[in-house]
């Protein structure tokens, strides 16, 4: 059986690329036996959801274009 460290790495990899059949089986077997890693996989997915939603949710938290920048940009357009 693969270790928890190897599992964590594969769980991340799985979010970006297709795993090989062997990797998938190794991952599945480990996840069935190890509750921590199953939780960890869930956290990885939640993390992506959080950061995907964070940009929209925090649009009002973040300062807009400062007045000075606005002036500089308009000035640059004149050149």
């Amino acid at each position: 059986m693969i270790t928890c460290e190897e599992t964590a790495s594969l769980l991340s990899e799985k979010m970006d690329v297709s795993l090989s059949p062997t990797q998938r089986i190794l991952l599945q077997v480990h996840m069935m036996m190890c509750r921590s890693c199953a939780e960890f996989g869930q956290q990885m997915r939640s993390l992506r959801d959080i950061f995907l939603g964070l940009e929209g949710a925090s649009s009002q938290d973040q300062a807009g274009l400062p007045e000075e920048s606005r002036k500089r940009i308009k000035q640059a357009l004149l050149q």
């Binding site: 990899e13 920048s69 357009l77």
Partner: protein
């Protein structure tokens, strides 16, 4: 003369109307106010230059964002020669990341992350923004293009000139760091079902 002035006035108006949106978009993706401002400026300069070619087939905002996205990718591409050394290439670095994550995996059982709950909390949102800003610039770029811009692994490897193995190591490390940040800052309020 009036023909030249009209686009300038229109683009200046766009700076007023859409400057905030573009700046926030850029600032999410680069870890610097100055760079974000430069990217927005460069976007509007291009808009002025290509004013005649804009057919208004899409909304102005969509058009502006699409130009800005190209500017961002260009910026990332240009950054690559000086940043390539930041990418872990040897097994030691990968092993270190695995070792760090090992401790986290052991803690995982007691932590529940609830995206909706987190996103509703302004204080937590600001902290997470800070976590993103604290990432090493190169790592941040890869993460942003992958998870925020939703680009494929192939696109990122080609444009940032990194190999797939390095890409996987970077994404793994970024996710670990961000998760670590959750634990450090948001941990108490994120506990559920914990004794």
């Amino acid at each position: 003369m009036s023909e030249q002035k009209a686009p300038l006035e229109e683009v200046s108006q766009l700076v007023e109307e859409h400057g905030d949106v573009l700046y926030r978009y850029a600032r999410w993706r680069v870890n610097s106010h100055e760079v974000a401002e430069d990217l927005v400026q460069s976007t509007f300069t291009s808009v002025l230059k290509d004013w005649q070619s804009f057919r208004r087939e899409s909304s102005v905002k969509t058009w502006l964002i699409s130009i800005l996205r190209h500017k961002l990718i260009d910026y990332y591409r240009k950054k690559k020669p000086e940043s390539i050394e930041d990418i872990p290439e040897d097994i030691t670095m990968a092993a270190k990341a695995a070792e760090e994550s090992s401790e986290m995996v052991q803690d995982a059982e007691s932590i529940r992350l609830n995206p909706e709950e987190i996103l509703e909390n302004k204080e937590l949102r600001l902290t997470l923004r800070e976590c993103l800003d604290n990432l090493q610039e190169r790592f941040r770029q890869v993460f942003v293009i992958r998870d925020l811009e939703n680009k494929s692994t192939e696109f990122i490897c080609e444009n940032l000139n990194i190999n797939p193995t390095n890409f996987s190591v970077i994404m793994y490390r970024v996710r670990m760091q961000l998760r670590d940040c959750f634990i450090k800052h948001g941990f108490p309020s994120l506990f559920k079902d914990k004794y």
